[in-house]
Every structure is written in structure tokens, then in C-alpha cells.
Amino acid sequence: MTLHRPHVDWFSISPELVLLGAAGVLLLGAVLVPVRGRRPFSAFVALLGFGGAFGMAVAVYARSAHGSLRIAEALFRDRYGALAQIIICGAGLLTVLVAYAQRMRDEHVGEFYALLATAGAGMAFFVTAGNLMTLFLSLEWFSISLYILCAIDVGREGSLEAGLKYLIVGGFGSAVLLFGSALVYGETGALSFTGIARASAGHSGDVMLLIGFAMILAGFGFKASAAPFHMWTPDAYEGAPSSVTAFMAAATKTAALVLLLRVVTTAFPGEQHLWTWALAAIAVASLAVGNVAALFQRGLKRLLAYSSVSHAGFMLIAIAAANGLGGRALLYYLIPYSAMSVGAFAIVAARERELRQPVTIENLAGMLWERPFLGFSMVVFMLGFAGLPPTGGFVGKFYAFAAAYRHGFVWLVIVGVVFTAVSLYYYLGVIRSMWARPAGATSLAPVGGSPPSDPLLHAAVAACLVVAVGSFFAVQPLIEIAHHAASALPF
């Protein structure tokens, strides 16, 4: 019996390989490198890993002008996936910088970064997935990494609780997605997206296909933390270490939304009349729930978590538009959004390290004056989330709305606009709280004096700032990149 081994396009999976290599080195380092040097070593390797993956993803982007299926139709090699990988690796890179000064058990720092790298690799696989099996397995891959990362601060109750909640809801969500996959497979006999589309071309609206599709959508909704599948989000985001939250907010959402768009367009083009409306409805629900729940939220991480729910809604608007403009809008929006998410949670992390207690609206007081750079950056990120110029969030929202308008979803534009208005209340509330003078009770750094200066975190925030603001001015090049990427999708 001869095995016709498929041709393995190593180049197309080079980002994943680099990350996995880094993870391997990290695991070795976790055993071999003495505890004292483990932190810098691990961080450096992780940095190299994400940096290398970033570079490879760029290379893949550059050399994949024409999308193709690789390795027995399991993976796509196209600019769409590569761009998502770029975003994910970028977020991971910044997360490494943010996490460096985390007061984490030194003995597990190697594993922490290894898990971060594997999560990144899983997402990188995920976004290029070409069939349901790769999809599910890579989803579980990075999900399990994230469950563990969430709970990695095992000394703290919140972290464990977050991990367990994430795991239970996540397990349920995965199971739903899997059952949906099984049904779709049962109906079409195909696992690859293109195969599904081919097989279901004739009989759109088949019951089993639809049930399966709905369950897959629910699974994606869970990952993208879109309402009403979002309820784990605030708890997990709050309980997880802030650097992990940053990574989850930026990278997970990127991965989930990017692949969602690919799945609905490549595997279910025949059901477009259904999923546009379904995604529009989910978008509206996300906007409503996310924004309303964030309104009077006191805990900053929860607030940002709800804000990420609402942003899932905004980006789902772009997906629901089901046109090339929407694809561009999504990819473009993800760039500043990821930067702003990482940046915002990085600032939360910095504040936590300073105060040694959860960051609330109240104890942000005075931050703008005491930590001017971080305060200023936070202002910019909040403005960006709110969609105000001069940040990429402004252009991103504009694109998303434009896409919805072009699809004919004027009502969706109106809804989006209304909830943008609602969101301003809490985003600007964060800004307001930062300039407020502390009432006297909240003092800075009660023990240990002034917090250690954290140049890496500052560098990460600065990079986020540059991306968040720069994407406002450099719209044309970014949109061209997004345009090339989105043209890999069958619109």
C-alpha cells in the first residue's frame, strides 16, 4: 500500500511552525534554564517567536497573491489568512511585552510564554483552516491554551473561576460547533469548506444543513463573544491575568471573526439570505447588550469586556453586509481594534501592578496627571473604541456602516449609530475618571513606593498608540492590504 503523502507547503505554515518552535524552546527552557534567568530568556524567545511568525506571515502575505488550498485542502494559503495571522502575531508580540513585568510565579514563566505561543500558533492555524476538522481541532488547540492561560494565576481565586467558567462554556460551545459540523458533514459528505459549498449548491435550505450551520454559527458567536453567546466574556476577561485578557480580546476575536467570514462566504454562500440576517440580529444583540451592560460598570476590565462584546457587534455588521466592502471593513477594523484592545488592557495591567487591586473607574482617578503617557494613551484608546477621530476606530466604524449601507441594511446603520452614541457615555466616562482627582482614599502604590518602571509595557502601549492613530491617517495603504486580503473571499 502506498501512501500518497500530500505535498506539505512548509512555507504556508511557517508562521505556525515558528511559533511552535518557540514554544518547544520555551518548554525546554522551562526545564533547563535556571529560575533567575528564565523570565528574560522566556520573554525573549516568545518575542522572537511572535516576531518571526509576524515576519513569516508578512512573507506569506507577500507571496500569496492568488489564494490556494494547501495540504489536501486542509489549509488556505491566501492573503486573507495571512493578514489575520499578521494581526494575531502582532497582538501576541505586544502581549509578550505587556506580560513581561507581570508578577508571576517565576517557575512557570516558561510555560506561560509557551502556552501563549501555542495559542498564537493555534489561532494562526485556525484562520487558515480549510475544512471543518482543521477548524475544530485548531479551535480546541488555542481554546485549551487559553483556558489554561486564564487560570494560570492559580494562586488567585478569580483566575481559577475565570478559567473554569471559560472552560465549561467553551467546552459547551465547542461541542455545539462540533455537532453542527457533524450535521453539515452528514448532509454534504464533505468537510472542506469548498466541498460543502459544492455539495450544497443544489439544495440550499436543507434542514440538516441549516441546523448544522446554525450550530456552527453559535459556536463562532461564542468565540467572537457576540451576544447572546457572550456571557462568559466579562467573567473570563476580568478573572484572567490582564496580559492574557489583552491577547484574548485582540487575537481571539480576530481569529473568530475572520474565520467566521471565511466560513459563511466559502462554505455557505447559498444561505446568504439567512446568515446576513442572522449575523445582523446577533450584531444588534451584541451592540445592545455590550453597550448597555457597560454603561455603569465600575470595574474597568469588565467594562472593556463588554466593550469588546459591543465591538463584536460592530464587526459583525461588516460581516453581515456580505460584500467586499464588508470584508475590507472587517480586516481594516481589526487592525486598530486589536491595537487598542491590547493597549487598553496593557494600561489596565500597569495600573493593577501599581495599585495591587482590581482597577475600577474610581481608582483610575488622577491617572492622567500621574502617569501622563499611559493616561494619554488610554484617552486615545477610549476615543478609538468610541469611534472618534483621529483614530482608526473612526474609519473602521465608518467602513462597517458603509458596508452595511451598501448591502441595504440602512436600519443596521441606524442601530449602530445609536449604540455608538450609547457607548460614548462609558468610554468618555473612563476618560473622565482619569482626570478626576482622587477623593483622597485611593493612594498610589500603597506598598513598595513608586512602581517599577516598565519600559517594555510602555513600548507596547506606544506601539498600540501608533497603530491606533496611524491607521487613521494611513487608511489607503491599509485598505489596499485589506482589499487584497478580502479579494481571496468569493464575493
Binding site: K165, G205, F213, Q297, V422, Y425
Partner: protein, 626 residues
């Protein structure tokens, strides 16, 4: 000639700039000298313009000079342009001449006030504004000057900033005048709409008649009534006596309040297209002159008596202008400027000497301590009553004569004018007998303080003297039956509608002089010799003391409804809709938030339930919608 007119206009402006920018560099008295000097420059330039015009032929006497385009929009243009014609030169002479005299008087009167600079700057503003008003070559600038004199009136009435009464009076004056300005502006809008321009020449040439014409004339009349304190917009003038006496003399007697007459004369083509409105002006003038005369009888404030007398006299002028006797009105305007300024300034000497006291019951007999002032005041009083050969005789009687020339309405107005003549004699000499001939009260004896051994500062006495002479001879310029240079002078600008005959003149004069003398006699009987008790009729007394309840009426009709409207708006709109708009929103948002927040129970099973339920719903939706 036009250059002289520009200089006339610019000189007070230069004074303002000098005083304002000079600030503390300029000594206080220096401000007075500057203002006086520049106003005299103004007067000199006016005289030059007059002489220059005198030498020209009739048609050549009217010249428009445009400095620059002041305002334009689309096809509408209004230049910063002045019109030099007989009428404006006449007014320039009166304004700058009397103005210069009175500002000079003020140097003495205001001596010691710690804000003289401000006073003289204001006075210069007034002179500038008044000159702008009379020199402007279009209605827009006229309106500008019109408002500016209102402004300077406001500033000067409220000169004593710490006295609430003064401030209140100032505001009242300004607001009532603003009302007049507004009606005038509306008339101007109509003119723009129907003629496309506001330059006098084309406007008058193309002004529409009919209803539009009436509306235009009514709008202008509204402005004139407010400015000249005629019924029903007259209530500000008595209150305006809170201002310093020179101000009352200059603005509220000699010049500004007569602007309404000027307006009617200047815009007579518009009024003549709406003759009913012109007649209305005459009727209102006649009504004012009687009413004001009646109210003047019971006033106890020396300046208010004179103020009511001013209203009454302007009533005569309105009567004249309304009857089409434009030149007569202007003539009376001029003589009135002389003698009424004189009365005020003479009263001012007493007030100055008695530390600002104005109540005639306290001032009784003060005139005995100031013989020169008394003499001048007598001169003014006689001129006011119209006793020959004093100025008033010549000007007022010709107005009454014009009434006889204008039909039935004219007769009625004539009759009212004659009643006014009697009242004039009565109230004028009530004042005279009480203040100047009565036995000095202890208050007067105690407080009368002489200025360096004289009745008052030289500046004041000099001015009063000059005006006293003018009150005597000022009227001799024109004696209608025999010679009428003023009528001739103004004829090209405003040809009269009424040309009374000599007989009518004679009848009018005889009656007016007779009634005036009768008034004097009655005053002597009641107040001078106390032979006849002053009649006491409670209702009449109260009515007069309340000035026919005009203030109360306006309060009830305008002020209170406005206040109540504001309150109602507050309750109905501002509080619930504007201030409360966000409260409801905030409450709703908080409710919604607490709902979603409660839904986030922290129970992981409920999260899964949401996921499962939503998935089930999605499936059902797909199946239903497929």
C-alpha cells in the same frame, strides 16, 4: 461744503477717541475742554457748510457724499454717505451749536464729579450720533444714528451708575426707543423689498403708496413717537430726568427728542403718500401736548415739569409736521432748542447750587438768591409761553395758524393747541412763582452755596446768558406774515402743505398770546399771590399724578405677561424638556443596565443556558425563515 459736513461729523468722533484713549493722561477738566473745543469745531464746520451752501443755487444745494460702501448684500447697497442739504445743515447748526454751548456749560456743572472723562466722552458720542442722524444720506444710516442717540441717551441718563433710579430710567428709555427702532426697521425692510434701496432719493421717488405705504409710514412714525416721547411711547422721558441736567437740556430738550420731527420732515414724501398716517402724527402730537401740559401742572420735580413741557412742545412740532407745516415745525424746533435748553440749564444752576435737590417744594424761593439765573429763566419762560417778542411767539403761533389752514381736523387740532397754550402759561409760571418768586425756605437758605461768590461757575452762567439772549431774539429770524427765510431755506427739501394766510396767523397769535397770558394770570393768582386756592379734585389729582396710568398700563400689558410667559416656558419646556431631558434618559439607561447586569449572574450554568437557548432560537429561526 461736503468736506465741512464730514468735519462736522468727525470732530466729535475725534473727541471721543482722544478722551477714551487718553485715559488718565488727560486731566479731568481737560476732557471737558476737549469735548467743548471739538464740538465748537463741529459747529464752525457746520457754519462753513451753511455759508458755502448759501452761496449756491437752489438745485445745487443738495449734495450726497459717499465715503465708502458701508453695507451691501446682493443687489442691496448702503453707503456710508452723508447728505448735505438745507435741512441737514439747519439741523447741524442747531445740534452742534446748542451742543457746544451745553457741553461748555457742563464743564462747570460736572466739576467735581470723579468721572468727568466718561461724561464728556458720552456727550461727544451723543453729538456724533445726532450729527450722523441728521447728516445721513440713507435711511439705514439714519436708523444707525437714531439708535446711537438712543444709546448715548441711555449712557447719559444712567451716568450716575450707583443710583438705581437712574439706571432704571436709562434702561426704560433705551428699551422704549429700541421698540421704536424696531418699528422703523420694519418700515425699512418694507422699503427694501419694494424699492431695493434705502438712499433717500430713489427711495422717496419709488416708494409705494396704498397699504404698503401706510405700513411704511406707520413704522417710521413708531420710531418718531418713541424718540420724541409722544403718546403712547412717552413714558420714558420724565424718568430720563434722572440724568444730569446738561444731559436733560441737550438730549431731552434741545436735540434728540426733536429727532422725530426731523424724521417726519425728512421723510415727508413717504408720509405724504400715506396722508392718514401724517394726520395721525398731528393728532398724537396734539393729544400729547394737552396731556403733557395737564400732567405738568401737578409735578413737583422741577426737571420733570420742564420735561413735560418739552413733551408738550414737541407735540406742537408734531402737530406742525403732521399738518405739513414742515418749516414751521423746524423753526419751532430751533427756538425750542434755545429756550428749553435755557430753562433746563437755569434750573441746573439752582440744582447745582443746592446739591442736587430738585423738589420745588424745597426749592421754593431759591431763585431769589440767584438773580441772574432768575432773569434768564424768566426769559425762557416767556419764550415758552409765547409772549412776544420772545422766540416762542414766532414759532409756536405759526404752527397754530397752520392748523386753521387744514380743514376740520385742523380746527380741532388748532383748538387743542390753544388749550395747550393756556396750560403752558399756567404750569410755566407755577414754576416761576414757586421757585423764583416765593419766600425762600429754610432749606434753601441753609444749603444754597455760592460758587466763588457767584451764582455758579462762569461756564454755566455764560451759557445760560447766551441762551437767554437767544430765547429773546432767536425767533426774530422769521415772522411768518412778513418774512420767512427759514421757510424759504427749507422749501426745496420740504415744501409745506399748509400756507396759512396772514389773517389766520393773526387769529392764532392773538388767541395763543391771550390764553398764554391768561395762564400766567391764573398761575399768579394761585401760586404767586395765593389769591385763589389751588383746586383739589381727588380723581383728577390722582390721574395726573399717575400720569394717566400709562406706566401701570404698560406694566400690566407687557412686562407682567412677559414674565409670566417666561415662567410658563420654564415650567412647561425648560425644566421637563431641556433640563429634565437627560434625567429620563439616564433613568431608562440605568434600568436597562441593571437588567443586563442582573442577567450576568455569575452562575456559569446560566451562561451556558444563554448559549444553548440562543442556539436553539437560531436554529428555529433558520428553519422558519429558510
Amino acid at each position: 461744503m461736503t468736506i465741512a459736513a464730514w468735519i462736522t461729523l468727525a470732530a466729535p468722533l475725534a473727541a471721543i477717541a482722544l478722551i477714551t484713549l487718553g485715559g488718565n493722561l488727560l486731566p479731568r477738566r481737560g476732557a471737558g475742554y476737549v469735548a467743548t473745543a471739538f464740538t465748537f469745531v463741529s459747529f464752525a464746520a457746520a457754519v462753513y457748510a451753511f455759508v458755502a451752501m448759501w452761496q449756491r443755487a437752489g438745485a445745487d444745494r443738495s449734495q450726497v457724499s459717499t465715503g465708502w460702501t458701508w453695507l451691501s448684500a446682493g443687489g442691496f447697497h448702503a453707503g456710508m454717505s452723508i447728505l448735505v442739504d438745507p435741512l441737514s445743515v439747519f439741523m447741524m447748526l442747531v445740534v452742534s451749536g446748542v451742543g457746544a454751548l451745553i457741553i461748555g456749560y457742563s464743564i462747570g456743572y460736572m466739576d467735581g464729579s470723579d468721572e468727568e472723562r466718561r461724561f464728556f466722552a458720552y456727550m461727544a458720542i451723543f453729538v456724533f450720533s445726532m450729527l450722523l442722524l441728521v447728516e445721513s444720506a440713507n435711511l439705514l444710516l439714519l436708523l444707525a444714528g437714531w439708535g446711537m442717540v438712543g444709546l448715548s441717551s441711555y449712557l447719559l441718563i444712567g451716568y450716575d451708575q450707583h443710583r438705581p433710579a437712574a439706571i432704571h430710567a436709562a434702561k426704560k428709555a433705551f428699551i422704549m426707543n429700541a421698540f421704536g427702532d424696531a418699528t422703523m426697521a420694519l418700515a425699512l425692510f418694507l422699503l427694501i423689498q419694494h424699492t431695493g434701496t434705502l438712499e433717500f432719493g430713489p427711495t422717496f421717488a419709488h416708494a409705494p403708496g396704498g397699504t404698503i405705504g401706510i405700513l411704511i409710514a406707520l413704522g417710521l412714525l413708531g420710531g418718531a413717537l418713541a424718540k420724541s416721547a409722544q403718546l403712547p411711547l412717552h413714558t420714558w422721558l420724565p424718568d430720563a430726568m434722572e440724568g444730569p441736567t446738561p444731559v436733560s437740556a441737550l438730549i431731552h430738550a434741545a436735540t434728540m427728542v426733536t429727532a422725530g420731527v426731523y424724521l417726519i420732515v425728512r421723510c415727508h414724501p413717504l408720509f405724504e403718500r400715506a396722508i392718514s398716517v401724517e394726520k395721525t402724527a398731528a393728532v398724537l402730537g396734539a393729544a400729547t401736548l394737552v396731556l403733557a401740559g395737564l400732567v405738568a401742572l401737578v409735578q413737583v420735580d422741577i426737571k420733570k415739569v420742564i420735561a413735560y413741557s418739552t413733551m408738550s412742545q414737541i407735540g406742537y412740532m408734531f402737530l406742525a409736521a403732521g399738518l405739513g407745516a414742515y418749516a414751521n415745525g423746524m423753526f419751532h424746533l430751533m427756538t425750542h432748542a434755545f429756550f428749553k435748553a435755557l430753562l433746563f440749564l437755569a434750573a441746573g444752576i439752582l440744582i447745582h447750587a443746592l446739591a442736587g435737590e430738585q423738589d420745588i417744594r424745597k426749592l421754593r424761593g431759591a431763585g431769589r438768591l440767584a438773580p441772574f439765573t432768575s432773569l434768564c429763566f424768566l426769559s425762557g419762560s416767556l419764550a415758552l409761553v409765547g409772549i412776544p417778542p420772545f422766540a416762542g411767539f414766532f414759532s409756536k403761533d405759526s404752527i397754530l395758524a397752520a392748523g386753521l389752514d387744514r380743514g376740520t381736523l385742523g380746527y380741532i387740532l388748532f383748538a387743542l393747541g390753544e388749550v395747550g397754550a393756556f396750560l403752558t402759561g399756567l404750569y410755566t409760571f407755577r414754576l416761576w412763582f414757586v421757585v423764583f418768586r416765593g419766600e425762600p425756605t429754610p432749606f434753601v437758605r441753609e444749603h444754597f452755596h455760592r460758587h466763588h461768590g457767584k451764582e455758579g461757575p462762569l461756564w454755566m452762567l455764560g451759557t445760560v446768558g447766551v441762551l437767554g439772549v437767544l430765547a429773546l431774539i432767536g425767533g426774530w429770524i422769521q415772522f411768518s406774515p412778513i418774512w420767512h427765510p427759514i421757510a424759504n431755506w427749507l422749501d426745496p427739501v420740504a415744501p409745506p402743505l399748509a400756507n396759512p394766510t396772514s389773517t389766520e396767523e393773526a387769529i392764532a397769535s392773538a388767541l395763543a398770546v391771550g390764553l398764554g397770558v391768561a395762564g400766567i394770570v391764573v398761575a399768579w393768582l394761585m401760586y404767586g399771590a395765593a389769591r385763589v386756592p389751588v383746586p383739589r379734585l381727588a380723581f383728577v389729582q390722582r390721574t395726573l399724578e399717575h400720569k394717566f396710568w400709562f406706566d401701570e398700563l404698560y406694566d400690566a400689558v407687557f412686562s407682567r405677561p412677559a414674565a409670566q410667559l417666561a415662567l410658563a416656558l420654564d415650567r412647561a419646556i425648560e425644566l421637563p424638556l431641556v433640563a429634565g431631558s437627560l434625567d429620563a434618559l439616564g433613568f431608562g439607561a440605568r434600568e436597562a443596565w441593571s437588567g443586563t447586569s442582573r442577567a450576568q449572574t455569575g452562575l456559569v450554568r446560566s451562561y451556558v443556558l444563554a448559549l444553548a437557548g440562543a442556539m436553539a432560537a437560531l436554529v428555529i429561526a433558520f428553519l422558519v425563515a429558510r
